[in-house]
């Protein structure tokens, strides 16, 4: 109770409220515009949180995350293009409702179920984080190493393209984190006798480069070739909240989607899109009335309720491994992890012992952010949709300014700007050759923990590697790693077989 009162004092300031309002608004905008992502908004915001009070900075990031997750549905419903991958499942019925002239009710339903999904997952998150932290506090370096390795294997395994491509990106991320001074022995690595390189590759600089620069390069490239992407023509809309009876009708479905979204969000590497599609498919399959079932995909409100509840429930789920174990579930939570570390809050079991008031203020910030996002979307939707009319290269100019200023401001280092540009080029190149960039970031986030815990465990065991298999927890995580990889390889082999069969049939 004492911690909660302290947290209320921390969160109830003018700066925190402004930060939540700005973060929510920026998140909604970046979430709503196809091509921009809330991960990009988070990466751009992060450097500016350096000089803020920890709670103000973290609140800004959390509000951006929540605003972004909710904002994705706006473009999905109004123009049939999801603003974020998590809103892709909303397109079918959301856009069909717009075509029928029911855009207002679709938007209103999306807003309210998103808020309900977010609130419910917050409650589950609070219970789970506390429970897992109490269990995880007993982990030694070997267990933490195995746990982080498991997180890494799922992240790469579940990356959107394939296991091996995800692994290449993930290993590259781990490699980048070994550049600079070795934290344990203080020996320089890959510095080429450059003193500035001793600091290594800054995670935030890399994130800005990977998430924002490829987008700028793409829109400027199209403009220079006079192949501009068109801006979207959107009619004036209002948000109309659904009736109580409609919410009552879908209450059970919402509960199930909250459970689904929260549990999928808690698995590192899965996230919003998977949860939303599973929820959509569940809603359709669980519909008993054949006439209503037939309506899914043609403008059924259940097709908006299910994915929007589930993808917002992911936010609470994704915070569970982040806060209790220090493992980010997706790029957005990886950036939030970076923000927490910058402000001296080290997520993991000790966070509750060392910084309990800050943890409670995180919970409160999420709660307030959902309320602010709800107010914005209900009252200011007609102004928000105007941003969809702005040409992408004009937005690109604003992003370019934020990118350069942000990466320069981190350490007032010219080298950081160069590293950011280089990472941006890597991101652009990876996009062109269809390699995922998310595992690079996650490799960088987890890299230092993997190395430090490995080396601490090896020092404790005097070089005996059996320490990694000496406890039930380690063995459990090891089995999960093997299982994840085996499932991916099996899936790949089935794909190969299927392709061969198709080829043979084509030859016949």
């Amino acid at each position: 109770m004492e911690n909660l009162i302290t947290a209320l004092g921390l969160i109830g300031t003018y700066e925190v409220m402004i930060a939540i309002a700005i973060g929510s608004f920026a998140g909604i905008i970046f979430g709503a515009i196809p091509g921009l992502t809330y991960s990009m908004a988070l990466a751009l915001m992060l450097p500016f949180t350096f000089t803020m009070e920890p709670v103000t900075g973290i609140s800004l990031l959390l509000a951006t995350y929540i605003g972004g997750m909710t904002g994705g549905s706006i473009s999905a419903i109004l123009i049939g293009i999801p603003g974020t991958p998590s809103a892709a499942a909303t397109v079918a019925d959301g856009y069909a409702l717009t075509k029928k002239g029911d855009a207002s009710i679709a938007l209103g339903t999306a807003v309210i179920v998103s808020t309900i999904g977010g609130f419910a997952s917050l409650v589950i998150m609070i219970i789970l984080v506390d429970f897992i932290s109490q269990f995880a506090i007993k982990f030694g370096p070997a267990e933490i190493f195995m746990l982080v390795l498991f997180g890494f294997s799922t992240i790469c395994g579940l990356s959107e393209r394939s296991l091996f491509r995800g692994l290449v990106a993930g290993v590259l991320g781990l490699m980048l984190m070994t550049i600079g001074t070795d934290e344990i022995e203080g020996i320089s690595r890959f510095t080429f006798d450059n003193t500035q390189m001793l600091q290594g590759v800054n995670l935030l600089v890399a994130m800005i480069g990977l998430f924002a620069v490829p987008h700028i390069l793409e829109v400027f490239h199209f403009r220079l070739n006079k192949e501009d992407k068109t801006n979207f023509d959107v009619d004036i809309v209002k948000t109309k909240l659904p009736s109580f009876s409609l919410l009552k009708k879908y209450f059970n479905l919402m509960l199930r989607c909250v459970g689904l979204g929260t549990s999928i969000g808690a698995i590192p590497g899965s996230g919003g899109p998977i949860a939303a599609f599973l929820a959509y498919s569940h809603a359709k399959n669980s519909e008993k009335n054949p006439d209503e079932k037939e309506m899914y995909g043609k403008g059924h409100i259940g097709g908006v309720v299910a994915p929007e509840t589930a993808n917002n429930a992911v936010t609470g789920g994704a915070m569970v491994p982040l806060l209790s174990l220090g493992i980010p579930g997706d790029p957005a939570t990886a950036i939030i992890l970076g923000g927490l570390l910058i402000h001296g809050l080290s997520p993991g079991p000790m966070l509750f012992i060392e910084n309990a008031p800050q943890v409670y203020s995180i919970y409160l910030a999420i709660l307030i952010a959902y309320i602010v996002v709800f107010i914005f979307q209900v009252n200011f939707i007609k102004h928000i949709v105007k941003i969809l009319k702005v040409k992408p290269h004009h937005l690109g100019v604003g992003i370019l300014v934020m990118v350069i200023v942000g990466s320069y401001a981190i350490r007032n280092s010219f080298l950081d700007v160069n590293v950011m540009i280089l990472m941006g080029l890597i991101g652009y190149f990876f996009n062109r050759i269809q390699l995922p960039v998310t595992p690079i970031v996650l490799g960088m986030v987890l890299g230092k923990t993997i190395e430090n815990e490995y080396r601490t465990a090896m020092s404790l065991s005097a070089g005996d590697p059996t320490i990694f298999f000496s406890s039930i927890v380690s063995l459990m995580f090891f089995s999960l790693i093997i299982l994840t990889i085996a499932l991916q390889i099996r899936k790949r082999m089935l794909d190969v077989k299927k392709q061969k069969k198709l080829k043979e049939q084509a030859q016949l």
Binding site: E15, I18, I22, F48, T49, F50, T51, M52, T56, L60, S162, F164, L167, V171, L172, L174, M175, T178, D182, E185, I187, S188, R189, F190, V213, I216, L217, F220, H221, R223, L224, N225, H393, H394, V397, L400, V401, V403, I404, V405, Y408, A409, F414, V417, N418, I421, L425, Y428, R432, I433, Q434, E451, Y454, R455, M458, S459, A462, G463, V496, Q499
Partner: protein, 155 residues
């Protein structure tokens, strides 16, 4: 003739990168691999090996004739030139920031981008847009959020 050479190029690229990395592990990090496999070289060396294995896996996939679902997109018209222009803008802006700070460099570079790079003719976009963008960022981060923006050596 294989249907796709994507995995051949990807495999060779990954393998070449990993070999360079492994050489650098021995040239750029002091010490050895250590009897306890616990030195500053251990993890970078292991990562280099992992990358090599991944390169070999891609080459194997090419050998068995696996056609990837997602392949590299073909090079577009003027792509190198356009990307080069963008990089020049990035670097120029960071140099300007270094000497003139945020408030002076930002309107200058935004004007340059809108007028000459994006070829916008409207005076609103050429003059009002740079001032608005600079003012907005200054207002949000300095006045509202009490954060900081880069200061230059001269201003």
């Amino acid at each position: 003739m294989r249907e796709s050479k994507f995995y051949l190029y990807l495999g060779l690229g990954v393998l070449a990168f990993s070999l360079i990395w492994l050489v650098l592990v021995f040239l750029q990090i002091e010490g050895d691999l250590g009897s306890f496999a616990n030195t500053p070289r251990t993890i970078p060396f292991f990562l280099g090996l992992c990358m090599s294995i991944l390169g070999i896996v891609f080459l194997y996939q090419y050998k068995v004739g696996y056609v990837p679902k997602n392949q590299a997109e073909p090079l577009q018209k003027n792509e190198f030139r356009n990307i080069f222009f963008c990089i020049v803008v990035f670097v120029s802006y960071s140099y300007l920031l270094r000497y003139f700070g945020f408030l002076i460099s930002t309107p200058i570079i935004v004007f340059f981008i809108t007028r000459f790079l994006l070829n916008e003719k409207s005076w609103k976009l050429n003059f009002l847009f740079p001032v608005t963008i600079t003012g907005m960022i200054y207002f949000i981060f300095i006045i509202l959020l009490k954060s900081s923006l880069p200061r230059g050596e001269l201003f």
